[in-house]
């Protein structure tokens, strides 16, 4: 199996020209293997036990807690469309189903860039940046979950309630953000080499060697995203996580889920489900709805 493709440039220098397409197959097969093995492991030993100490008495009693604002959900789903369009246009032709992909690919790339900019502005202006910070509690919880996953029979130590975003969500976010930013930044440079309605191509922005690096990074970020997106979709449809996915569709989770999974000191909400502290990040929606409506 090759990892990189290289070629002689016109000056006889051996330069990288991109990743080997074997890596695409590797990412697809590794993703499928992860999904299958994880599903088997969870079936055999069940999900991690969650801390069962009673929640503080002052947890307010509205039936819904809003988890994602409309703007945040619009961002998430628009970005998903862009990401799927990018992965399909990038890799499906490599895997054998050929179609006219180039224009669709860069247009999806620009859509992804727009959603990233939107997300950054929204986060800085209206959300709590620190809710994504990986702190000591996250490290501890992550270690417990990892131990549970790796050591058979190890579920003595329950997982603690978390803030709005558990450690695995935060780590996933940062990995996906790194890969998406790398793919977008390198993709923007690659766009300089093709004609678009906005500019005429310029293949000489960098030398051959630097261009090779850009292509390699773009390819690595792309195959990384295959695995990350596959894992995300898999967890989104797993029965025990589906309520979180519905939260991203409807914007809210039930008060019951909130009590069981989240620590109100780290993710405080008021009686109406509004964020009540500056570490919150939840936005309000208070229409009464019973926990049974939860999917």
């Amino acid at each position: 199996m090759d990892f990189l493709r290289s070629a002689d440039n016109p000056w006889g220098q051996d330069i990288w020209i991109g990743i080997s397409w074997d890596l695409v197959w590797l990412a697809v097969i590794a993703s499928l293997a992860f999904v299958v093995l994880h599903a088997i492991a969870v079936r055999l030993r069940g999900p991690a036990r969650i801390e069962t100490t009673p929640p503080p008495a002052d947890v307010p009693e509205t039936s819904r807690v809003e988890r994602h604002s409309l703007v945040a959900r619009a961002f998430h789903w628009t970005m998903s469309i862009a990401m799927f369009a990018l992965l399909i246009t990038a890799f499906v032709p490599v895997l054998g189903l050929e179609f006219d992909w180039v224009q669709l690919h860069w247009m999806a790339g620009l859509l992804l860039l727009a959603t990233i900019i939107w997300h950054v502005i929204h986060t800085l202006g209206w959300q709590d940046l620190w809710s994504m910070w990986v702190g000591p509690t996250d490290v501890r919880d992550g270690a417990i979950e990892l131990k549970h996953a790796l050591i058979p029979g190890d579920d003595d130590e329950p997982k603690h309630r978390t803030g709005k975003y558990p450690a695995d969500h935060k780590l996933y976010h940062h990995a996906a953000a790194t890969a998406a930013l790398a793919a977008t930044a390198t993709g923007l440079f690659m766009m300089v080499r093709i004609d678009t309605p906005f500019w005429t191509r310029n293949p000489y922005l960098f030398g051959d060697g630097a261009w090779g690096m850009v292509y390699v990074l773009h390819g690595l970020a792309g195959v990384g995203l295959i695995g990350l997106v596959a894992a995300h979709v898999y967890f989104a449809v797993r029965p025990e996580k589906r309520w979180l996915t519905w939260g991203m569709v409807r914007g809210w989770i039930t008060r019951e889920r909130y009590r069981v999974h989240f620590d109100p000191t780290q993710w405080p909400v008021d009686e109406l489900g509004d964020p009540s502290g500056d570490r919150g990040g939840a936005l309000a929606e208070a229409s009464p709805r019973s926990p049974q409506d939860d999917a």
């Binding site: 493709r5 070629a7 002689d8 440039n9 016109p10 006889g12 330069i15 020209i17 991109g18 032709p93 050929e98 179609f99 006219d100 992909w101 180039v102 224009q103 080499r193 093709i194 004609d195 191509r201 310029n202 293949p203 000489y204 051959d208 261009w211 090779g212 292509y215």
Partner: protein, 333 residues
């Protein structure tokens, strides 16, 4: 880079006697195998040691592949029929003179004797950066040397570029396209009949291939339906040298006339894009109209909508306009 050497790199050479044997060999060796027809394109690559197949499957002794026969409502031409046999074929000359003329315009008598119809439509582009072995997009690399600002791109495309700007070199391809020909392609036991329009692919679909053919595929024949038999046709090829040369541009057109009205038309140009281009907008602009000088002038203007020239091939734009104009003018009474 592209150094011509006198020795071809070694490969295993097979001469199957039947199509099935050839297909079995192609399936067995997959990407390592190369189909050899007349060898005029193939040996260039081999001698320059740019393409180094491990296995070469020569179709030369499969007699059935050279046959030209009646089929259903038209003609079926075996992929290994030589260009000379096409030029000399009485039925083709009578009913499909567009193909005769196009085949007659290919290179020299010697090349037409050796070159096959299947090889002519499947041949690779003549972009000289690519043919010199430079690691361009088409060769699996990540740049197009011909599209660079300082590049020598006089022969390159003004339409359909997508990173790569090479053009299709085939003279028979636009004629077959204009005649609504279909390509019969076998892969193992599976047979596909592919419209010419889908047979030739552009770089935005696959930058490393000119046609839909991939490892294991064998083009066995080309079918020409009766639809355009006896139609009014026009073929013109512009080249640098009168003796022999690849087309800078060519036009192949077929017309059905109803009195002096254009009842139906096909207008295809080549040498302007990485694949032969059917000009449907031109066809729409003339179908149902009385053939006239003005109609021809208008068709020429429609033809060049959306073209985009490179640094050194501006001349291709008026050339394309004039070729289309002349094709339409040919049916003016």
């Amino acid at each position: 880079m592209g150094t011509i050497r006198d020795m071809i790199a070694p490969f295993d050479f097979f001469q199957p006697a039947t199509v099935d044997d050839a297909l079995a060999l192609l399936s067995e060796h997959g990407d390592d195998a190369w189909v050899l027809a007349g060898g005029l394109d193939s040996f260039d690559w081999f001698k320059d040691r740019i393409k180094r197949p491990k296995v070469v499957v020569d179709l030369g002794v499969i007699e059935s592949l050279s046959a030209i026969s009646e089929s259903g409502d038209g003609l079926e031409i075996g992929a290994m029929a030589s260009l000379t046999s096409i030029v000399n074929h009485a039925r083709i000359r009578a009913d499909y003179p567009l193909l005769t003329t196009a085949a007659e315009h290919v290179a020299t008598p010697q090349i037409r004797n050796q070159g096959t119809l299947g090889g002519n439509v499947s041949q690779d582009t003549r972009c000289w950066y690519y043919r010199s072995g430079w690691p361009c997009y088409r060769a699996g690399g990540n740049t197009c040397y011909a599209a660079a600002p300082q590049a020598m791109n006089r022969e390159h495309c003004i339409l359909g570029a997508s990173r790569c700007v090479a053009v299709s070199p085939s003279d028979t391809a636009p004629a077959l396209f204009a005649l609504d020909a279909t390509m019969v392609v076998r892969h193992g036991r599976r047979e596909r009949v592919i419209d010419a329009e889908d047979f030739f692919i552009g770089p935005s679909t696959d930058i490393t291939r000119m046609t839909i053919l991939e490892a294991g595929d064998l083009l066995t024949s080309i079918r020409i339906p009766a639809q355009w038999a006896g139609a009014r046709v026009y073929y013109e090829k512009v080249r640098d040298r009168g003796s022999w040369d690849f087309a800078l541009e060519s036009v192949a057109a077929a017309f059905r006339m109803d009195g002096d009205m254009v009842a139906d038309a096909r207008v295809v140009v080549n040498g302007v894009a990485p694949y032969p281009v059917r000009l449907e907008a031109v066809e729409r602009s003339i179908i149902g109209s009385r053939a006239s000088e003005d109609l021809a002038i208008g068709a020429g203007e429609v033809a060049i909508q959306g073209v985009r020239s490179l640094r050194h091939n501006d001349y291709k734009v008026p050339m394309m306009r004039n070729l289309v104009k002349r094709a339409v003018r040919s049916v003016v009474a």
